[in-house]
Amino acid sequence: MRARVAEPWVEVPLQRFVDDARVLFALLLHPSGQVLGQFGFTRAVDVMAACALGAAIHASASQLGRELDGKPFRELYHAGRHRQIFIAETPTIRGPLILLTAFDTESSLGLVQVFFRNFCDMLRTAVPPVDEQPPVFTGDLERDLNRSLAILFGRARPPLADRGPSHPSE
């Protein structure tokens, strides 16, 4: 399985981290909960849920750090019975990003921490400057939106091409 990314510059560092640290899942996300890259998930909606929770955990831990220590905690580790999670922040020129990763006995917290440092270094050199070019929508945005929402709410039938089993891209 390969890492899947929303932005191409994320792919190499993320794949390298996954390979080196031998983790089961990895998510690189923005503190708002938006995913930039993932490894190990099969459904996009599951990725979004994991990102929402990961961002919330990180935000809570950071805030708790500010309350207790005057500055945010940057890393969080949680040991489950079979799997463990590690959440940490990495600074980039695009602002901080969060890595959430889950691993089992194939890896260890020490290895994850070590390869996380490498990941941060790789990411720092890979990240391009912010490019906020708006997307160019083709077609009629309002009509398409109305049609999509109507289908979503069962108020219209999907066009033939859209029927049948749908698999949100991973």
Partner: protein, 202 residues
Amino acid sequence: MPLVNYATREITCKIVYYGPGRSGKTTNLHYIFEQVPNDRKGKMVSLATQTDRTLFFDFLPLDLGSISGFSTRFQLYTVPGQVYYQATRKLVLQGADGVVFVADSQARQLEENIESMQDLHANLADHGMDVRTTPLVIQYNKQDLPKGLILGVDELEDALNFRDVPSFPADALHGLGVFETLRGISELVLRRLSAGSTAGAR
């Protein structure tokens, strides 16, 4: 900004349902969750107290399908409404691409609505978001209650909608206005996203 993947032509937007406690934010998400087919939604994640009050947030990922050439996904969040969850509301609001303010139409809740709206503005400002340009719609929920208990839409508009944003009367429990509200905020978010791009867009 919404996340745009140009390579795969995917857009992901974060929409936050904001408002005072018990105004019906979670009810909106529940209704949407029930309406949407399984292949277009993820699990609804609710971090709630034992009495089902939202503790951290509710979260519902939706797959809208293709819109104007982009595969579009929405992440719907609610915030906890109670006053003492101020810090949590601020965290959830981070990076929001659009906000639905769910107001409680009951006359006795007017103060709470106003306080919550002020709280929303303060939190947006704290995140460095321009209140005037952040996509926002208002939903006047519980309009199904007896007339003696609620304020009319005009009165609520006077009290809350000083920016003249799109507003929608609703009865979220039975789904009235929920769809329209989601459509309203979706349109604002996508229009804002496309602002500046004219090729092919209306």
